[in-house]
């Protein structure tokens, strides 16, 4: 059984996505690696797919490893960072 999850977009992922969100279908017990694969299949732009490989996924409180279960409704994708 699948479920829908909202992925919040930041940085370069906002390019071409004015609402800064994507909805992706994933299996009920999907892990972050499954979400990454589902997003790769969804993204049409080659640059975005390349950026996806270097990006992390996170909740509002922590960055997740690829083997962690995807949280309930919303997750953020974080491309490589460069503050300051």
């Amino acid at each position: 059984m699948n479920r829908a999850i909202t992925v919040r977009l930041f940085g370069a992922f906002r390019q071409g996505n004015p609402d800064s969100r994507l909805t992706v279908e994933i299996p009920e017990q999907a892990r972050v690696a499954d979400l990454r694969a589902a997003m790769e299949a969804t993204l049409r732009d080659a640059n975005a797919r390349s950026l996806l490989k270097a990006s992390a996924f996170a909740t509002d409180s922590a960055v997740l490893d690829d083997d962690e279960i995807v949280p309930d409704r919303e997750i953020s994708i974080l491309p490589p960072v460069c503050g300051g």
Binding site: F10, G11, A12, R14, A54, S61, L78, C82, G83, G84
Partner: protein, 145 residues
């Protein structure tokens, strides 16, 4: 004592020094990161900062706590970052630390800025003289393949 924030308002170095102040502290170190007009030989007119607000505050607090754990429980620590579009010369980030002696302040202040740059979920988009814009390549947070 820790103060962290993200803001669209102009950063005030005096606010940092007021937080990092104690009668027991003989030293205070302050770092200001500013938008410069050139990157990789390309003239820059402005920089837009995008960030993840909740996670940013968490990571900032974590980094500040590390400084306190390493250089002393009485440290006063300050880390604030701007968001939105900044013009050349505007401050994008301020880090500050006060402590009993200068060595702890210098080292802890350096820790804040260096760790913030590689761990905080912040992204910058440079705007150029020719009207083009580009998201700057950064440091990957991904820990596994």
């Amino acid at each position: 004592m820790i103060h962290v924030d993200i803001t669209e308002a102009i950063l005030d170095p005096m606010a940092a020094l007021q937080h990092c102040c104690s009668d027991a502290h003989g030293a205070a170190a302050l770092f200001i990161g500013r938008v410069r007009n050139l990157n990789d030989g390309r003239p820059v007119t402005a920089v837009s900062y995008d960030l993840h607000p909740q996670l940013c505050r968490n990571i900032f607090s974590e980094i500040c706590q590390e400084a306190i754990d390493q250089w002393g429980p009485d440290l006063r620590v300050y880390l604030v970052h701007r968001q939105g579009r900044l013009e050349i010369g505007e401050a994008s980030v301020i880090t500050a630390v006060s402590s009993g002696h200068r060595d702890e302040s210098f080292k802890a202040c350096r820790h804040l800025i260096e760790q913030m740059k590689v761990r905080a979920p912040i992204w910058k988009q440079e705007h150029y003289v020719d009207g083009d814009s580009e998201w700057i390549k950064g440091h990957a947070l991904r820990s596994s393949d």
